[in-house]
Symmetry: C2
Subunit: 521 residues, 2 copies
Amino acid sequence: MNKPKEERSAISPRRGENYPEWYQQVIKAADLAEVSPVRGCMVIKPWGYAIWENIQAVLDRMFKETGHVNAYFPLLIPKSFLEKEAEHVEGFAKECAVVTHHRLEAGPDGKGLVPAGELEEPLIIRPTSETIIGASYAKWVQSYRDLPILVNQWANVMRWEMRTRMFLRTAEFLWQEGHTVHATAKEAMEETLKMLDVYSTFANDYMAMPVIKGEKTPGERFPGAVNTYTIEAMMQDRKALQAGTSHFLGQNFAKASEIKFLSAEGKEEIAWTTSWGVSTRLIGGLIMTHSDDDGLVLPPRLAPKHVVINPIFRNDDERKTVMEYCERLRRDLSELHFGEDRLGTTRLQVWLDDRDLRGGDKTWQHIKKGIPVRLEIGPRDIQNDSVFMGRRDLTPRDKKSVERGELLSTIVSTLNEIQDNLHHRALETRKANTKTIDTWNDFEEFFGKGGDEESTQGGFALSHWSADPADAAAIDAKLKPLKVTARCVPLDPVALGATDSGKCIFTGKPSKQRVIFAKAY
Amino acid sequence: MNKPKEERSAISPRRGENYPEWYQQVIKAADLAEVSPVRGCMVIKPWGYAIWENIQAVLDRMFKETGHVNAYFPLLIPKSFLEKEAEHVEGFAKECAVVTHHRLEAGPDGKGLVPAGELEEPLIIRPTSETIIGASYAKWVQSYRDLPILVNQWANVMRWEMRTRMFLRTAEFLWQEGHTVHATAKEAMEETLKMLDVYSTFANDYMAMPVIKGEKTPGERFPGAVNTYTIEAMMQDRKALQAGTSHFLGQNFAKASEIKFLSAEGKEEIAWTTSWGVSTRLIGGLIMTHSDDDGLVLPPRLAPKHVVINPIFRNDDERKTVMEYCERLRRDLSELHFGEDRLGTTRLQVWLDDRDLRGGDKTWQHIKKGIPVRLEIGPRDIQNDSVFMGRRDLTPRDKKSVERGELLSTIVSTLNEIQDNLHHRALETRKANTKTIDTWNDFEEFFGKGGDEESTQGGFALSHWSADPADAAAIDAKLKPLKVTARCVPLDPVALGATDSGKCIFTGKPSKQRVIFAKAY
């Protein structure tokens, strides 16, 4: 039995039926990525990589505007480097790819190849680069005149994850890691928070993904950091996604790497460092914030193509007329400016899809790829000098005829409107699923204790929490069965209406501020 | 005893004294890169990386203009993949980084960390990605409608080199690798040569580095390729540098990876593939083509900064006046357009160097960093509304006063003139050191047999050569003591005045065309 038309969707299962499987199917339908023959690694396909290129272009410009430069450090880290910083060892030197040989030789039976040339010291594929970059910085920094050092690296990193999910958690992933050195704690802290702001601005203004800036509780800190700050986003299944982090590392790594400098007064001092990063995980966040049961929905400011033109014709005569009209429209649209890149502005990206496929098949591909605006143009439209327009923030059937001149004069504002709509919707979803919760009973119920795990994700619980380290283990033990973690202490509780003081819901001790709790990716 | 002033130079030793050491000192003085604690790997410092970013921006635009898109494939390749293509195994599966474990555990004595979690199949850090990309393409390609596939990847790769030299030959290096799939041999060959043209245009027009396009002789081919094409440049020590290669892979890799498609006639066919790449080695070529005894010389179109302003003052009063004037000039210059990036045009990049250093020290730093145009501005210049200008293609003392208005109206043409000068000089050097050589005796003498190896590099010898495979081993044996190799069979012998036929200087057999021989990096 067929479903009634309005219940059909391009992606099966739907979000409400099986969210994790829906996520995989959206990726497949949009042709973003695929699993690779190497366990836990993915292949980022052209459409997915184009989104990453747009993310890179905007962030790179923002990093440079805040005074940073790029550099590149080695992929491999000597084992002894990872052993330098005690907490860092615990956190990172565990599940990682270890290079032990530098040659392959013919096997003993003459067939196949076997590892040979064993290394004296094993090398680790970087899980993050604090230690190897620290070794360079120790050389670069001699005097206070050499500070600050404001460097970013775009790179691949590797963490041998057991359970992987495309974009969200893969063994190899692409990211940027900023590593800065400062003369004072104050400057290093300012840098840490400045970059958190850059991430927050990027998430809100480009990804149309509302985020909450906050500080991680001690148990959730980056290994070796003094303070870890985060931007936390709510996905459509009400789970949290840590979308970016900025770490104030104090003098921990500077001590381990011996980054010292002579102050203006001629005194040897230990420097203060920070690190901050976002990764291809952002694409996972993008998917889970906006996409729907028909596939990917891209915020226009990060879409590789803003507009797609679908020419409709039945014979060669029509083909000629339609293609000429479409090509002229493509040219005119491509002259317009939308969004921005390193130079602050860029051309509207228009795809005239002239592939030899059925028009309807193309339309569904365009929908599943998340292209913000679709134009269908056939002989009758041309007679009226108009096009048939669909918007990805509306339903597939919600299309309208637009006069050509009007299209050209309104397309940029339409794209901005779509961008704003997506942000607004995501913010409404978050607001609707954020609750102040003041008792342990309500907390358990919110996160669906005993209920169906997958369908009862809860949302963001704003609850009072005692910062007393003595209680950390007991609180963790209570949270673990619920699969809930402390996401962050919000930096701006006023915006969340969570400024009151109260009592810790776990211990009853006095608490000055609410913490966000959620299930998380 | 001090040398007379005109004999002093910023880099010691000079090129004529010790070319390899001069090369290292130029890199150090320009702050381009440094050795890392990991054997054979380098750290690319911000000034060096900024040059790579400019190289990337221009090439990426050229790739996209020729219809290519970017994607990303796994860093690690299963050992069995490298074993698939027989010649490829021979060429690549030798000196490479082998990952054998996926964990570090506390050592048996409780101290330190040791590799654990041995992998069932070792993984290789990609030395090049034909095999792993082929595995994806086998899935992507089903029908002739899926072709061509035109994909490029920007990535790090690793080859365990024994003798390394910064930028020219390092264990890890950055590169791009294009991998395309076509329905016919003809299309694949067109692609191969089209990308060779892209490389040649880039080398000439952006790097100001003249190159000769040619085909590699069988002994110098990429392992597994049917034909390898190259762009060969002459360095200032008259050695050749292979600056980029483009490979017609025939059906070799398509067979190994099973990249098959249904033709329009419904027949299963094996696809045709190409690959092409350039790397951070280009930066080595840039250095050795243009730099002089005072350090790096950058072609303006790839310089991270086109103009540097050096404010000169003796007290706080002068400081205020001078800095205001310089800041205004910086702003005005920054409004101008020079060169191009992905959008086809970009702003003039101006650095107002306000660091708290002596003016003379700064000037030498600017020279050693290769900045095309230097402006010195002091109170007296401001009175005349003029600046003191030095050009990196002239000597450090060859400076002149330029009226401010004239500077603004001529700076772009000055930069273009510098760009042209650098290309012209390099071309003259190559012409002066390229000889048609018709006897083995002259050949031996040209390459300094018995002479001082380092100072007698010869140059490019254009000599007749028999393509008979039966002679290959004997010819190699004659060339080896001279450390000379066949660089390429030029694609455009007319341009080199080498169109005559003759007799192979090694075998006396008839030869239709001259081959370029040289010592090489």
